[in-house]
Every structure is written in structure tokens, then in C-alpha cells.
């Protein structure tokens, strides 16, 4: 690859990881700009991982104040409350994150995720959002896709001890190792809107139940105009009603979405820190893969549930529309 060589300082700091992904990948990382919205525990993990890895810059967007709840799984928030005064959670996290790697430019931007303009998005190579509504997710993903520049889009959320990652790399080419040779591969991704529009009945039977359950909760929050995670067990009857409607419309059995799973997700306002570490680790790695174009990325959903310990990749794309 063209471009300047890594400095001595970079080679020393990144020695162990250059041995994993090579100097080319490290150079690409150092030129990548990442936008991150929604400073929850899982996002704190993602931020840590990509700042350590040595991306060019990280821009944080979250105007909400620091609350008791936000302390739960977010280790970027120090205990000293005087630091929160009149500041957004993004600003507080930004200060901690800067220390992790002086070679990465970390900043906090004012603003609301749902109103991010394409002019702003265009400055980035990777956009990651967490804790936003169904419509915001669709809107940001849609804006990223409209730009001529290819932007990698991720959404990530943890509820209770379950986590979901969505990946849209649009049209992605990468190299991957196969036995002893490196091969080129090319992947076509659907947008979030396209993916969730894939009829449920055509999906493979053994697909993760978390996929359906998350769609039900997401739809519930959207119709009730709740913010993500603002649910409780009292919502269960209405959620079960919604499940019935959706399952009937999609022609799948309601048993695909167990009550117990929906209960867990409704209660799961707080993230479970070990799951944040796992989901944040997997997503951090995905971002590195996407930027470096090395290694086959997840297409296009990833699930982890601490209850069974499996970390599963699900490909949810319409076989008819894929090229």
C-alpha cells in the first residue's frame, strides 16, 4: 500500500497487533475517522478497543447528561461528580478516552443523532450508533448509503445479558486467509431497513430467537414513542399482543419468540457489563476488519446471549434482492 511508513513510536506501541494484522492494516487504521453515537457501556468498550487499535480519530455524539444509570457499565465516566457539571456524557467520556492513546484524536460533538446531516456524515469512514430508535437507525443508515463515499454502518445494543450487532458495509471487498493462501472476497450488504423487511417465513428455521424478539421490542418502543430501553415488565401484555400480530402477519409460530425472552429484554434497561465487554470486543474487531479490508466481516447480524454462551452470526438478507 502507498502512503507514509509507520513512525518508530507507532511501531513500538502497536508491535503486538502489527504482528496480527500487518503494517498495511495499521496504516489504514490510522487514517480512518469514526463517528460514535450513544454513550452506553457497550459503546464505551467499542471506543476503548478502537482507540487502542489506533484509528485516526473518534468523534463522540451524545448530549445527554451523566446519570446514575449511565455509570452502570461505562468505565469512561470517573467517579468524581464535579466533572459532570454542565457537561454531556460525550464530553465526560471524551476526556477519559483521550488518555488511552495520545496518537488518536478524540473529540465530542454537540448535536442529536437523528438530525445529523449528510455533510457531517461524509467526514467519516465508520458510523456506530447505540440506543437509538428504529426510525433513527433507519434514517442514519439511509443517509450513509446516499453518499458517494462508502461508509461502514453499525448499530449495537445490549439488553439484559443479550446483545445485538447490525452491520452494513454496503459493497465490501476484503482479503481473507484460507488455509495457506490469501483470497479476495466481495460481500453485498442490505441496509437495516431492507434487512428487517425480509419476510420472517423465508428465514432459516434455526435462526436466533433474539432476532425476532429484538424486532418485536424495537417495534413496540417505536409505536409507543419510547426511547430505547424505556420498558418494564408492565409492558408485557402489550408486547405479547404485538408479537401475536407480527407473527400472524409474518406467518411464523409465536413459539419462535418465547415469553421468557421478551420478559428479559423488557427488564433489561441496564446492560450486563460482561456482555458489554463481549459485544464491544466483537464489534471493535469488526470495525478493524472493515477499515483494514482484512478478514471476512460479519454479515450482517451478530448475537450473544449469556444464557447459552453462544456468539452467533446470522445472515439476514433477501436472497432475491442480493446481487
Amino acid at each position: 500500500m502507498d502512503g507514509e511508513e509507520l513512525t518508530e513510536q507507532e511501531t513500538a506501541l502497536y508491535d503486538r497487533q502489527i504482528r496480527v494484522w500487518g503494517a498495511d492494516a495499521q496504516r489504514r487504521l490510522s487514517k480512518a475517522h469514526v463517528l460514535i453515537g450513544g454513550m452506553k457501556g457497550t459503546i464505551a468498550e467499542v471506543c476503548k478497543n478502537i482507540v487502542l487499535a489506533g484509528v485516526g480519530s473518534v468523534t463522540l455524539v451524545d448530549d445527554s447528561p451523566v446519570t446514575e444509570e449511565s455509570l452502570n457499565a461505562n468505565f469512561l465516566i470517573p467517579s468524581d461528580e464535579t466533572l459532570y457539571e454542565g457537561r454531556s456524557i460525550a464530553e465526560v467520556c471524551c476526556d477519559s478516552l483521550k488518555d488511552f492513546n495520545p496518537m488518536v484524536h478524540v473529540s465530542a460533538e454537540k448535536g442529536d443523532l437523528s438530525s445529523l446531516s449528510t455533510e457531517i456524515l461524509e467526514k467519516f469512514d465508520v458510523v456506530i450508533v447505540s440506543g437509538c430508535s428504529l426510525s433513527t437507525k433507519k434514517a442514519i443508515n439511509g443517509k450513509c448509503r446516499k453518499l458517494s463515499k462508502r461508509i461502514a454502518f453499525y448499530s449495537v445494543d445490549c439488553r439484559d445479558s443479550c446483545g445485538e450487532i447490525f452491520v452494513d458495509l454496503q459493497d465490501h471487498s476484503c482479503t481473507k486467509k484460507q488455509v495457506n493462501e490469501t483470497v479476495e472476497c466481495r460481500l453485498q450488504y442490505p441496509s437495516f431497513e431492507e434487512a428487517i423487511a425480509v419476510p420472517w417465513k423465508i428465514l432459516p428455521k434455526r435462526i436466533s430467537k433474539l432476532y425476532f424478539a429484538t424486532r418485536v421490542i424495537e417495534r413496540f418502543e417505536e409505536t409507543e414513542t419510547r426511547t430505547s430501553g424505556e420498558t418494564s415488565l408492565a409492558d408485557l401484555p402489550n408486547v405479547l399482543k404485538l408479537r401475536k400480530e407480527l407473527c400472524e402477519a409474518q406467518c411464523i409460530s409465536e413459539s419462535q419468540i418465547p415469553d421468557s425472552l421478551l420478559e428479559r429484554l423488557l427488564l433489561g434497561k441496564l446492560e450486563f457489563p460482561p456482555v458489554c465487554a463481549i459485544i464491544g470486543g466483537i464489534l471493535g474487531q469488526e470495525v478493524i476488519k472493515a477499515i483494514s479490508c482484512k478478514g471476512e466481516p460479519i454479515k450482517n447480524f451478530f448475537y450473544f446471549d449469556a444464557a447459552d454462551g453462544k456468539g452467533l452470526i446470522e445472515d439476514i438478507s433477501n436472497p432475491n434482492s442480493a446481487s
Binding site: A25, N49, L71, N72, D160, P273, I282, A306, D308
Partner: protein, 645 residues
């Protein structure tokens, strides 16, 4: 989020963490966030620059400080009201005995070497405390749960021995770059800068016995009034020129091999060529910063130097050692963080490689091979730490039905990047957790007691302070509290052959080997055997009764220590090295080597199957709704492990 019952168990738990490195930093953070209130953390290491890319609790300003203490302080910044006790100490210290371990509800390992893992395994077994073991290499990771009498212990199945090479391959017939590295590091570097009393195979005695060791030994000494430049060239010409000529005189060796080309310094460098600008480096008084790359103006460690550049680096490095680091000569051992040592070894290995027609390598690559640097990234460590905490919570809730061993895969297997597997049951023949007697096949009248202690007791059985008894007769004891007569008596025993010991150890007898510190005792039955295969059984002793690890001399499917260090090449090394940043030694097999060094070295966990190796197959058990996977093991004996029902 965790249930109330889980939260209570977490709050009341006392946790011992061993290791504050790559996994340790992530683990301490996740434990603290998860609500743990009482955590002890032990690590003897101090912080280095190459840790900072993943050990996120550490900063540049902490370099040189205790990992355990800095990690504690960093976590208290976001969780100020919990108790974290940091021990900047060796886990093998006698302070951390069985009584110490008994105070804890669970032990969590984030270690980087086999020796310490075995030590912890033994003490926690004696203390009856469950253990969560972990390891990562690049994108691969593994978490295992060990509960006494219920699941396998860490040592139920021996780990493959570190990659080793026959002496003659290293001294006379290298065919790969790694052979040249071993030669440069273990022979040439050790000869010139290491302990002069250590035996060293650098000067191959040719078949006609042309060089006697008395004569050749002097060659490596700087003579009185000898100019340092002349000395360097003399050494250069001796090892790369004369020694190769000598080896070439043995036609038998080269019948089916490419003949090496002797290289003399005058072939490569003009006689009066000025080597670098020493004055530039003279300004630096910091010994750690002395570097030939700096004085020769070589900037990029990833660039492959040509023969002339390597020759200049070698001569310059030699000179710098004598001019700047004179005091250390005679006591140096190779250290991957010693820039000058790495430069010297890179250059020497490359010149030797050039002579034998082997492709040359960059300093970056050579450093990886010589230091056996394990690839490490933050993300795998974060994932593994999360998995450890999930298993630890199950253990605290006595939820033993649901504990799992989990593999982090680089490529999904059956859609899974994180793959849980049921733990295996204990191995009934394990000498550690089942106290099963072992049998040693040995030629008693020809085997020195010292070899038995070093190669069997220390290296194979992993004992640090062993006591050897035959009946009530003490044959050997190690420890600091011995008086001088005892020490002398045991020293004398070490020099005797087994059958000539004060109480003879011969076929049909039995001895007991103990390590009181580890509270481990092992009975060994002796079986007389005269013949051993030099290639397969180079130690001249075979320990049986406990499943043997796959031998690792030429098995390509197994660990490739140091051979896959470039780029993203980790995925063909599937038998997972359960080691984070492990500095394993690449050792030449030499009967004269220091075996405690080898016992410290590489580990690889046998519990992983490789989907690219035909030897391994997956056994897939489809249970209703919830499927679990059991992997077959590297060798058929390992496959005897059963699922816990």
C-alpha cells in the same frame, strides 16, 4: 442484568486474579463494573511500552511501574468504593500458599506461561477453590472452568512441549530461518556475551576432531591489546567463514543438501570501511538506547537488510556491547526488549541464512521469532474477560450444570464466533488431580540424578522446590532453608547416576517426589530400560502412566513457535497457545541445556480442534433446541475425554 441472587453472590465474593496483563486489565475492569467488591490481584511484572496497545489501564507515564498496583489505581477511578488488593509479587512466592488460596471463592487466571498456570492449578486443587483459566493468541481465545472432582484440572492432559530442534540442525544443517535465529541467539550470542561457564555447541567438532574445545574457546575472547574492530572481524570470519569451511570438509553431510557458502568479512565489506558513526551514539549515556540502527541510520525495522548491512550491524553491535555495555558481558541473556541484542541476533541469523541460501528477514520479523512473541490484540482479551466473569458468576452461584468452556474462533464454526462446549471430566490417570503413580523408564546405571531432577521433576512434573525420597531416605531437597552440609550432600547426589545413589534407584524400586509449596506429591515407579531412540526420546527417559502430549518436533499441524509471526498468519496455528504475550524460548535441544528454562516456556492447549487438520473432527451432538459441541482432540488418546453428563 444479573438476578438478585447473582448480585448477592457477586457482592459477597472474594476473588483472586492472577495476572494483570492483557487479559488481567480487561478482567479487573469487567469484575469491578459487574459489582465485585473484594478482589486480590497478583502480578510480578512491570509495565512496558509494547503493553500499552491493549493493557488499557496503563499509560506511557506508568512504564516501569507495577502492573498490579497501577491496574488497581486505574479501576478505583471509576469504582472508588470497592476493595482491590494489589500484590506486586511472584505467584510462586511461598506467601501465596494453600491457606492464602482458601480465603477465596474463585481463582481467575490471566497468565502468560505454563509454569505459573500449573502452579496455580495445584494450589487451588489443594485448597478446593474453583479456577477459571484463560488464554488468547491474536483473534483466538479460550476460557475453561476447572472444578475439583467434577471437571478436568488444567493438567489432566499434558501440554505439547515447546518446539525444539535437533542440535545438529542448529549447529550444522539449518534449513529454515528459525534455525539461524536459534543459532544466533542460543549459541553465538550466549558464547560472546553470556555466562562463559555454560556449555555451548557453537564450535561443531568436525568428524576428524580437527578443533579441540580448549583451542577454539580462546578464539571468542578479546585478546590483550586487540583492537575491537579487528576482534569483530576475527569472530565474523571464524563463525561465518572458517567454521563453514570446516563443516564443508565433511562430505557425508552435504550429499543430499545444498552446500553452504563460507562468508568472510572482506568479501562483504572493504577492509578499511568505516563502520557507522559511533560518535553519534556516544552522546547517549542511557545504555538501553544504544542501538546500531541509530548509529548506522537504519530506520525501518520492517525492512530486510542486505548482507552488507547485516554485516555492518553485526560488527557495530559487537563493538557497542564492548564499548558501552562492557560490564554486562559474561552475564547477558537474550531479551527481546534489548534493542542491541535483537539487532545482533537479527544480523547474525541473516548472515548465516545468506550462507545457507535461506531467505533473509527483517528485524521486526526476527524479533518476533527470537522473542517468540505471541500476537495480541485488545479485542480478544476483552471478549475473553467477559466470558471469564460469566463463568465466575456461575461458579459463585454453584450453578455447575451450566459452566462451559468457550472458544473464540477467528472464523465462524457453524455460525459461531463464540462457541461454548461442555467441560470434560477429570482424567483418572492425572498425577495431579487423581494422584496416580507414574512409571519412569530409564537406564539407571547411566542416568545422572541431575538429569532426572531437571528433565523429569522440574521440566515434566513442573515442580519448583522438589524433594525426592526413597522410602524414608531423602535423596534431594531444594529450598532456601537448607544448611551447608545438606546442600553439599544433595549436590554430590546430583552428580551420581541413579543406581549409585546412597539408596540406589533401580528398576523395580519406587520413589516419591514432592513439592511442599505446591502441596503435590507423586509416586514414581522405576523401570529399567537400556535403549532409547535418540530422535524421539532425546532425554533418555520416558515417563508413562499419564497421557503424553503430542510430540512437537516436526508436526506441522501443531504449534509453530515462531514460524508464523508475520502478518495475520495466526489462523493456521490452531492448537491454541493459551498464552497472552508469552515469551517462550525457542530452544535448541541440547543435552547440556538449562532445562528450567525450557520448563518455563511455551504452552499450547490441547483442547482445540483445527478444522483445517484432518486429524480433528467435530462431534456434533444435536440436543433438542440447544446444541453443544464436543471437539475431538489432537491425538486419539485425548479423544478419550468424555463429556460430563
Amino acid at each position: 442484568m444479573a438476578s438478585q441472587q447473582q448480585l448477592d453472590a457477586i457482592k459477597g465474593a472474594k476473588v483472586l486474579m492472577v495476572g494483570a496483563g492483557g487479559i488481567g486489565c480487561e478482567l479487573l475492569k469487567t469484575l469491578a463494573l459487574s459489582g465485585f467488591q473484594d478482589i486480590h490481584i497478583i502480578d510480578m511484572d512491570t509495565i512496558e511500552v509494547s503493553n500499552l496497545n491493549r493493557q488499557f489501564l496503563f499509560r506511557q507515564s506508568h512504564v516501569g511501574q507495577s502492573k498490579a498496583k497501577v491496574a488497581r489505581d486505574a479501576v478505583l477511578k471509576f469504582r472508588p468504593h470497592i476493595n482491590i488488593t494489589a500484590h506486586h509479587d511472584n505467584i510462586k512466592s511461598s506467601d501465596f500458599d494453600v491457606d492464602f488460596f482458601k480465603k477465596f471463592d474463585v481463582v481467575l487466571n490471566g497468565l502468560d506461561n505454563l509454569d505459573a498456570r500449573r502452579h496455580v492449578n495445584r494450589i487451588r486443587l489443594a485448597a478446593g477453590v474453583p479456577l477459571v483459566e484463560s488464554g488468547t493468541t491474536g483473534f483466538l481465545g479460550q476460557v475453561a472452568v476447572h472444578v475439583k472432582d467434577r471437571t478436568e484440572c488444567y493438567e489432566c492432559y499434558p501440554k505439547p512441549a515447546p518446539k525444539s530442534y535437533p542440535v545438529c540442525t542448529i549447529t550444522s544443517t539449518p534449513s529454515k530461518f528459525v534455525h539461524c535465529i536459534v543459532w544466533a541467539k542460543d549459541l553465538l550470542f550466549a558464547k560472546l556475551f553470556g555466562d562463559k561457564n555454560q556449555e555451548n555447541d557453537l564450535n561443531v567438532r568436525s568428524s576428524d576432531g580437527a578443533s579441540s574445545s580448549e583451542h577454539t574457546d580462546d578464539i571468542f575472547e578479546l585478546r590483550n591489546d586487540e583492537d575491537i574492530d579487528c576482534y569483530g572481524r576475527r569472530i565474523y570470519d571464524h563463525v561465518f567463514g572458517y567454521n563453514i569451511e570446516l563443516a564443508l570438509s565433511n562430505d557425508e553431510t552435504w550429499k543430499n543438501r545444498t552446500r553452504p557458502k563460507p562468508i568472510y568479512s572482506s568479501d562483504v565489506l572493504s577492509n578499511n570501511q568505516q563502520n557507522g558513526n559511533l560518535d553519534k551514539s556516544c552522546s547517549s549515556s542511557d545504555v538501553a538506547l544504544v542501538s546500531t540502527m541509530a548509529t548506522l541510520g537504519l530506520k525501518n525495522p520492517q525492512e530486510v537488510w542486505n548482507l552488507a548491512e547485516n554485516s555492518k550491524v553485526l560488527l557495530e553491535a559487537l563493538k557497542l556491547f564492548f564499548m558501552k555495555r562492557q560490564k554486562e558481558i559474561g552475564s547477558l541473556t537474550f531479551d527481546k526488549d534489548d534493542q542491541l541484542a535483537v539487532e545482533f541476533v537479527t544480523a547474525a541469523a541473516n548472515i548465516r541464512a545468506a550462507s545457507f541460501g535461506i531467505p533473509l528477514h527483517s528485524l521486526f520479523e526476527a524479533k518476533g521469532i527470537a522473542g517468540n512473541i505471541v500476537h495480541a490484540v485488545a479485542t480478544t482479551n476483552a471478549v475473553v474477560a467477559g466470558l471469564i466473569v460469566i463463568e465466575a458468576i456461575k461458579l459463585l452461584n454453584k450453578d455447575l450444570e451450566n459452566v462451559r468452556m468457550t472458544f473464540c474462533n477467528e472464523h465462524p464454526k457453524r455460525k459461531m464466533l463464540l462457541m461454548p462446549v461442555e467441560p470434560f471430566e477429570p482424567n483418572k490417570t492425572c498425577f495431579v488431580c487423581s494422584k496416580t503413580p507414574l512409571t519412569l523408564e530409564v537406564n539407571a546405571p547411566h542416568t545422572k540424578f541431575r538429569d532426572f531432577i531437571e528433565k523429569v521433576v522440574r521440566a515434566k512434573l513442573g515442580m519448583n522446590l522438589p524433594t525426592v525420597m526413597k522410602g524414608h531416605f531423602l535423596l534431594y531437597e531444594d529450598g532456601n532453608d537448607l544448611d551447608e552440609d545438606e546442600r553439599q550432600k544433595y549436590e554430590a547426589n546430583l552428580e551420581k547416576v541413579l543406581s549409585k545413589l546412597p539408596s540406589p534407584v533401580i528398576g523395580g524400586t519406587s520413589i516419591v517426589v514432592e513439592d511442599l509449596n505446591q502441596t503435590l506429591s507423586c509416586e514414581i515407579n522405576i523401570k529399567q530400560r537400556e535403549e532409547f531412540d535418540e530422535e524421539k526420546e532425546p532425554e533418555g527417559m520416558v515417563l508413562i502412566g499419564w497421557l503424553q502430549a503430542p510430540t512437537d518436533t516436526e508436526n506441522k499441524a501443531s504449534v509453530q513457535n515462531g514460524e508464523s509471526t508475520s502478518g495475520a498468519g495466526t489462523d493456521q496455528v490452531m492448537p491454541l497457545e493459551i498464552a497472552e504475550d508469552e515469551e517462550a524460548e525457542v530452544n535448541a535441544v541440547s543435552k547440556k541445556r538449562n532445562f528450567s528454562e525450557i520448563s518455563n516456556s511455551s504452552v499450547s492447549h490441547p483442547l482445540t480442534g483445527n478444522d483445517k487438520t484432518s486429524k480433528n473432527k467435530e462431534v456434533i451432538l444435536e440436543d433438542e433446541g440447544d446444541d453443544l459441541i464436543v471437539l475431538d482432540h489432537l491425538n486419539s488418546e485425548m479423544a478419550k475425554k468424555k463429556r460430563l453428563v
